[in-house]
């Protein structure tokens, strides 16, 4: 395979490319889906092919094919160079790739339990057991789960990434994930729903550790309790404690996305949008001093794990917000050149046929030093929002809404009864500025982050510890 990639870059260079990159990517999926306790189609999928980018005369071309004969690959180079040349003739600002810490090496995660060791029938049996545990758990409090699905996906991604300026990276990364959706129904109380995801870069050992029957049993019971016991709340000003799942989505949406350098430059303007941050926003105060948001692809087992990005740049931990101030943006080599900095290895592609663009990997609020009980202490009247269902944020990443699902009243530092759907609808800087204390109990959730055109849903972790916000205006159920 390396010979083919070398051939592509040589050919691109002969056609006048000042930079080229060639990537082989193979994604092998094995998926099962249980709907209402019954299996749907068992699916296998192999997607593999070769992608390349070429910079010609300041114009950038990307191309991909799964037709991997020499003839097809030569034709690919011809198409990409042709496209790059066509665009170079009409652009005023030539594109360049900045200097970076380019790598050579192999990255391989070797699973302790390979997916081959677990037959699809055994995987379905596990999902059935988990589904059944959920149904029984809800029935114990008189609630039915009429609509539900659980899917389990195993994926192995192999990549060779080469660039004309020396990157040579080979990686083999397995990933496993579970997505679950539960609907709880009780005739007098109506319907509530919950989705959640688990995902890691690992083998089957992660699934064993997740203990799906226990997890779904607890989720179903919690949902049933919300349906039966939660009381509506009116809008009010109060202190709020947010759980790691909520902190994770906020870190991702309200710190990670705004700090993507391609958004700042307007490259995603017509699709995923732009950002309230500007090129000169480094150092801008957006939150209280206790807020530190980290982006780190190198966390072992993480869903967004990588050690070299898809431009062959060595990955490292990045602080997006440090002590409440914007500290660093996420860059690929193209945006880094514009900003006059080095790429911090944020270039990722979800498949062989997608261009690498600036992406998050694992975004989270850095753990502090408080126990959960300490966060509750001193709250006379407040709300604890453990998890959420509905959320969205505007395309400048400034106005967001997070609607709690499992939420509790806090009275005199103690958790009390369940509340129905507290609504946080506030600006990014108001949210981060209201944080006055950060827990030490860091947890992560898996997610698929959508960006790019064509859309690229890419695996990420979002996370954080519990955090406390003071004097928030919380909305209630309409």
């Amino acid at each position: 395979m390396e010979d083919y990639l070398e051939m592509i870059m040589d050919l691109a260079s002969k056609h006048g490319a000042t930079y080229s990159e060639a990537r082989y990517q193979s994604d092998t999926y094995e998926s099962i889906l249980l709907k209402n306790g019954m299996p749907e189609m068992t699916s296998f999928d192999v997607r593999k092919g070769i992608a390349m980018r070429a910079l010609v005369g300041g114009g950038l071309g990307f191309g991909a094919t799964n037709l991997m004969t020499k003839r097809d690959l030569k034709a690919l180079v011809g198409r990409v160079v042709h496209l790059a040349k066509a665009s170079s003739k009409v652009i005023r600002t030539p594109i360049s790739m900045g200097q970076a810490d380019i790598g050579k090496g192999t990255v391989e995660i070797k699973p302790r339990i390979g997916f081959d060791a677990v037959p699809m029938e055994a995987r379905l049996d596990l999902l059935k057991e988990a589904d059944s545990a959920g149904v029984k758990s809800a029935e114990a409090v008189g609630v039915k789960l009429p609509g539900r699905y659980v899917s389990l996906d195993a994926l192995v991604t192999e990549k060779f990434v080469m660039t004309s300026d020396g990157a040579r990276v080979h990686s083999i990364i397995p990933k496993v994930s579970v997505d679950a959706f539960l609907t709880a129904f009780e005739p007098q109380r109506g319907i509530v729903q919950r989705t959640f995801s688990l995902g890691e870069s690992s083998g089957w050992e992660s699934v064993e550790r997740w203990d799906l029957p226990e997890r779904i049993e607890k989720e179903a019971r919690s949902l049933a309790d919300i349906l039966v016991k939660a009381t509506p709340m009116k809008g009010e000003r109060c202190d709020v404690v947010l759980g790691p799942e909520v902190v994770g989505i906020i870190s991702h949406e309200s710190s990670g996305h705004p700090g993507e350098a391609d958004r700042i430059l307007g490259r995603e303007a017509a699709q995923a949008g732009e950002t309230y941050l500007q090129r000169d926003s480094i150092g801008m105060k957006v939150g209280s001093d206790v807020v530190n948001v980290i982006e780190d692809p190198t966390i072992p087992r993480s869903f967004g794990f990588y050690l070299y990005d898809d431009e062959g740049v060595k990955a490292r931990r990045r602080y997006l917000i440090k002590q409440g101030k914007i500290h660093e943006f996420l860059h690929n080599r193209e945006t880094a050149h514009v900003f006059g900095v080095e790429s911090n290895a944020s270039s990722r592609s979800v498949a062989y046929n997608r261009e690498p663009i600036v992406r998050m990997a694992n975004t989270f609020v850095e753990a502090g030093d408080r126990k959960f009980e300490e966060l509750l202490e001193g709250i006379e009247n407040g709300v604890y929002v453990k998890n959420f269902m509905e959320w969205n944020i505007d395309d400048r990443r400034y106005n967001q809404k997070y609607v709690g699902l499992e939420a509790y009243r806090i009275e005199k530092g103690q958790l009390k009864g369940l509340l129905r759907n507290p609504i946080m609808e506030m600006t990014t800087t108001s949210l981060w500025s209201a944080v006055d204390a950060v827990g030490k109990d860091l947890e992560f959730s898996a997610a698929s982050c959508g960006k790019g055109d064509p859309m690229q849903g890419i695996p990420v972790w979002t996370g954080g510890p519990h955090i406390r916000l003071r004097n928030i205006r919380l909305g209630g159920v309409s």
Binding site: K48, R79, W391, D394
Partner: protein, 443 residues
Amino acid sequence: MRVEEICEFVLKVCNGEGASDAVVTVTEVEETMIRFSNNEITISNALKDASAHIFVADREKKAGMGVADLSKKTLLASAKRVVTSAKRAPPGDVYAPLPKGPFRYDETALGQPRLEMGPRELVGLVRSAVDAGLREGAERMAGSLIARNGRVILRTTGDVIASAKSSSIEISVRAFLSNLASGHSTVIAASEKDFRPEEAGAEAGRLAKAAANPVDGEPGEYQAVLGPLVFADLACQVGRSASAFNVDAGLSFLGGKIGQKVASDKFGIADDATLKGSYGAFPFDAEGLPTRRTAVIENGILKSYLHNSSTAKKFGTQSTANAGLVVPHPFNLVVEAGDKTLEDMIRSVDKGIYVTNDWYLRYQNYATGDFSTIPRDAMFLIRNGRIEKSIRELRISDNMIRILQNLSSLTKDRKWVKWWEVEVPTLTPTALIGKVNFTKSSM
């Protein structure tokens, strides 16, 4: 092997291995995308792919496999593996044999003319859209143009032999006057002769200019004029929620409502893959059934879900030729037109908001339809029948059924919409909704 021979070969292997049903699909795609921002081309993408999908059932037990390598050796191994997997799988809840063909398809839909535009011509089309927006007063333009040629070849154990070529071209373009004033438009077509990228650029530019100097809007209940991009997003939610799979899984606000009034009398929506010359037209579904027009909602009454053979059997009805082998889906949504002009509509509004685009629609509850979405691009306050000012920073927080039931009128002009946020091509008018709840950040 030729593609037709590949399908025949794989089908024979599946039969020989004991599958009761099998579908072999080969898809070939050639796509060029040109992305642009700040009036400049940022990247041009070229994709050329050929892949196969093998679906096998051993009565209620099903398995499927995507294959990227179309060599005989790989196809043989894949077919054997997928049949073995189906045989070992636990049974699903229903068995519906594949539709028994052969079928006759609409000849005119089987072979659309191929798009033959090269990179320079496509760059020229992008340039025409950008320049049109700048002429209308925009400062910067961003978007993407996609030109696509494809071919799908389908063989099934139901004696289906089908093959169709399709082509499409589309542009999605956003114009900015400042960081806070913007407009968005799309144009899609099945052939180059119907493609007018400069119209999209000009409309986006006009909207951006009209939206200049926006002020923060006030939350509350308003009449709402929802432009085609917004109403297409909502119509797509109806289409998605009409999929019988989603109904069964609890992912639909239309569940259990067949025959019920779910919308205003004025609202009708159909899925119509037979609409000649339209972007989403296609002659057959994933089981090989000839596609048809299916009325989902007529005069406000929910008439039908969208089915494949399996969901139809489970629901005790016939397939609507919307397979997806697992999840039925709409191809080409068409919302019925009304009798108003946009000007009539705005004149009829005392206190309202005209929303021209939205994004990021998320549900609190799929089954009840409680959701919110964020208006983006040009948005205007309407007072006493006139547009008073450009506004921003609001969110629609409401319920799907409530919005459909509060629909007051529709324009007679309709627009085809498909872009990043609206995945199914949708022909829709502008809609006036009697009451819509708008919220905003409280701090």
